[in-house]
């Protein structure tokens, strides 16, 4: 099928057994909401609500998640900021949910062009309190389908909100895509913690208000141990032409595609350059990056921001390698030629060996 990114996410969510969607419109991701309206209205167990605000939408997500059903909301940068309170509550209450952020230029209302300025917000928790969310970064139409399925799996496995961090380009672009077989929500394993009526069993409470400081600390450590497990089990990185590379470009999402195009061009000129593409932004694939520093001397971080993932790259490399940065914020989409020039400059300035 040839489908636009927002439709791919929506269809993949329905196929992952998601029957509940709540959202408030915002460009450039309205096609996702539109698709969900149609898809869920045509399913007997589907519930679609266009809420009166982003706050309402994320709180509806909390309510459904408490009942154990797979649930999703989506928005773009300014709308995701509004949802942060709810995401903090989801995290405190250990509730699974999938949240799509189709990033646009910012801060403030910004514009509606593709950007990557919400990296730090997404990977550092975003709302108040000591928590993290899993953040996935798709790089193609097909990966949008696969990653959406994974997002629901991770959310349920770890009882955690999962953010899919795309951008306006990923949302609008059409690419060929094949979907996995649909999951019947009834066939999903039961969750032993849900609120579904306490008849015949002791009642359960799901809350994030823990006034006793020792109990709150204990809860924080419990979350922390979960995040540690996720950091071991979930990180994923695509490596492209890195085996013989002296320089690696590190980029995610739309920027990684542009970087790939640039790398193909400079390879033709004999430059040994590869691509490292994190598919998970939190947890960041630190270990793989650190390993790469044994053979790669130079790293070029390329982002559609003024430099955010750059911080994670520096933290991961722990002082090893030379780190360079190139970024275009505000919704500018660099061309592969532009990035090829940047690579060229660094390659020759550092005197790296040519083929």
């Amino acid at each position: 099928m040839l489908l636009r990114g927002s439709h791919v996410i929506a269809e993949a969510a329905v196929r992952a057994g998601c029957r509940f969607y709540f959202g408030y419109p915002i460009t450039p991701q309205n096609e996702l909401t539109e698709y969900m309206a149609n898809a869920l209205a045509s399913l007997p167990d589907g519930v679609f609500i266009q809420s009166e605000s982003e706050l309402a939408a994320i709180n509806m997500v909390i309510g459904v998640s408490m009942t154990g059903k797979r649930v999703m909301t989506s928005s773009s940068s300014p709308g995701i900021s509004l949802k942060q309170e709810g995401i903090s509550y989801l995290s405190g209450q250990e509730l699974p949910a999938v949240i799509i952020n189709t990033m646009r230029g910012g801060p403030g209302l910004g514009n509606i062009a593709p950007a990557q300025g919400d990296y730090l917000q997404a990977t550092r928790g975003g709302g108040h309190g000591d928590y993290r969310t899993i953040v996935l970064a798709p790089g193609s139409g097909q990966e949008l389908a696969d990653i959406t399925r994974m997002a629901f799996e991770y959310a349920d496995r770890y009882r955690i909100p999962v953010i899919i961090l795309g951008d306006g380009m990923m949302g609008q672009m059409m690419e060929p895509v094949e979907f996995p077989d649909p999951i019947d929500p009834k066939s999903l394993p039961p969750k032993p913690w849900v609120l579904d009526g306490a008849e015949g069993r002791p009642s359960r409470i799901i809350k994030s208000l823990i006034l006793d400081t020792s109990a709150m600390e204990e809860h924080n450590w419990k979350l922390f141990r979960k995040y540690e497990a996720i950091s071991r089990e979930v990180p994923e990185m695509e490596q492209f032409l890195t085996d013989d590379a002296h320089l690696a470009v590190i980029a995610y999402g739309t920027a990684s595609r542009i970087a790939k195009g640039a790398i193909k061009r400079v390879r033709e000129m004999g430059l040994k350059v590869g691509l490292l593409r994190p598919k998970t932004l939190w947890p960041f694939p630190k270990r793989i990056l650190l390993q790469m520093s044994r053979t790669i001397s130079d790293f070029l971080v390329f982002e559609m921001s003024a430099g955010q993932m750059l911080e994670d790259v520096k933290l991961s490399l722990e002082g090893r390698g030379r780190i360079h940065f190139y970024g275009r914020p505000g919704g500018i989409i660099s061309t592969p030629d532009e990035i090829a020039k940047v690579i060229n400059n660094i390659y020759f300035k550092e005197g790296l060996e040519r083929e």
Binding site: L2, R4, T27, P28, I112, G168, M169, Q172, M173, M174, E175, P176, R257, I258, A259, K260, G261, A262, K264, I333, T335, P336, D337
Partner: protein, 181 residues
Amino acid sequence: MLIKTIFSGFGGQGVLMMGYILALSAMRDGMHVTYLPAYGAEVRGGTANCTVSISDEEIASPVASSPDYVIAMNKPSLIKYEGQIKAKGTIFLNSDLVDIDPEREDISVFKIPANTIAKELGNERVINMIMLGAVSAWTKITSLDSLMNGLTEVIKTKSSKQMGINKKGLEIGAEYVLRGA
């Protein structure tokens, strides 16, 4: 091989549909494709454009900073994209709505009076298929047969009368080019 094509015109001229059918047809031919519609805060009657990339390998960027082909359905589209076309690229003009000539001499220009042809056909709304037929015949990006199949897939829910006139549009556009060449 990587071919980038920009379709541009007024909202309502079927510009996005042309690009979509081309991308779908090329995908069915087994090619890698991306289709990127412009999604500014545009209004009806404002500008609309889309970029189609077709390649035999993975496509890096879906954006075309120097397209191989531009299909300009109106005058503002010519003005906007003339400077960006790759040297030795081709611009296809809807000569009914574009009354000026490109200034560049390193590109080929192909003029198709799409509105006039469509009027003769009895439905001005098929100007997009006439242009697409012409583009396919001239560039050979994809065959007329593939476009016909793509068209069938896209408008399968519509009446056979609409299907007929759209197919006729593709054929006539292609013939116009072949006669002229």
